[in-house]
């Protein structure tokens, strides 16, 4: 496994995402995260900073952000479901917390 995709759509699972991202980065595995629904709201600034420092691309669903009036750190890419699809096409393995 060289590419790990993570999907976060829940409020309570950011800790698992961070743990997996750290362990993957330690092994040289590329990591990307797509956040939507409650997962987009769960993206805290410290968590995003940690993920970016690990080399993880962090994309949030812009539809979710717009609907909920959410502000996310500048390092978060405002994306779409196309990014979700792209992540699933890119990754060797996807772990989805939904």
């Amino acid at each position: 496994m060289t590419r790990l995709g993570l999907v976060l759509a829940t409020a309570d699972d950011l800790g698992y995402v961070l743990g997996l991202a750290r362990a993957a980065a330690d092994r040289g595995i590329e990591v990307r995260l797509f956040a939507m629904h409650d997962g987009a709201a769960a993206l805290t600034a410290p968590a995003v900073a940690t993920l970016v420092d690990l080399g993880c691309e962090v994309v949030a669903c812009a539809t979710t952000l717009l609907r909920r009036g959410l502000q996310v750190p500048a390092a978060v890419v405002r994306g779409s479901q196309d990014d979700h699809a792209a992540l699933c096409a890119w990754a060797d393995r996807v772990v989805a917390f939904a």
């Binding site: 759509a9 362990a23 595995i29 779409s80 979700h84 792209a86």
Partner: protein, 140 residues
């Protein structure tokens, strides 16, 4: 992308908003050419008009919208679940089942392919990564 990926969405949720989001995600996952399969656990909430439109769109383009929620296969499995027991069958041993605290069923403990997750701070992520690498993952 040279091969068509198989992506599966399991909906097992009592929140209409979450169900609607799952259907929206299912449509989104088709955008890079994947074959998408959706399974809805009986007793899940109705996702409303948006979900109905998404289901119709997926069916129109030949995606499967009425699969068995206990036998979902795919390169990627996204399970939209709230942890409420609506009568899930035994876990498919071909899939790695990551069970978050307070979820799953007592009969699953020790079953092939089932990994009970402790709280995030207590997970052995190296071991978890090894397990993730070995099989498609479904999170309960």
């Amino acid at each position: 992308m040279t091969d068509r990926r198989a992506l599966a969405i399991a909906i097992d949720h009592g929140d209409p908003a979450a169900v609607a989001e799952a259907w929206r995600a299912a449509v989104g996952l088709t955008l890079r050419g994947a074959a998408v399969t959706v399974a809805v656990r009986p007793g899940s909430a109705d996702g409303g008009a948006a979900a109905a439109r998404a289901k119709a769109t997926l069916a129109l383009f030949g995606h499967v919208v009425d699969a068995d929620p206990d036998r979902l296969v795919g390169d990627v499995i996204e399970a939209w679940t709230d942890g409420v027991d609506r009568g899930a069958g035994p876990p498919d041993p071909a899939v790695l089942h990551l069970v978050r605290p307070g979820r799953g069923r007592p009969a699953w403990v020790g079953a092939p392919g089932v990994l009970q997750l402790p709280a995030p701070a207590d997970v052995d992520y190296d071991a978890l990564l090894d397990a993730v690498a070995a099989a498609p993952v479904r999170v309960w």
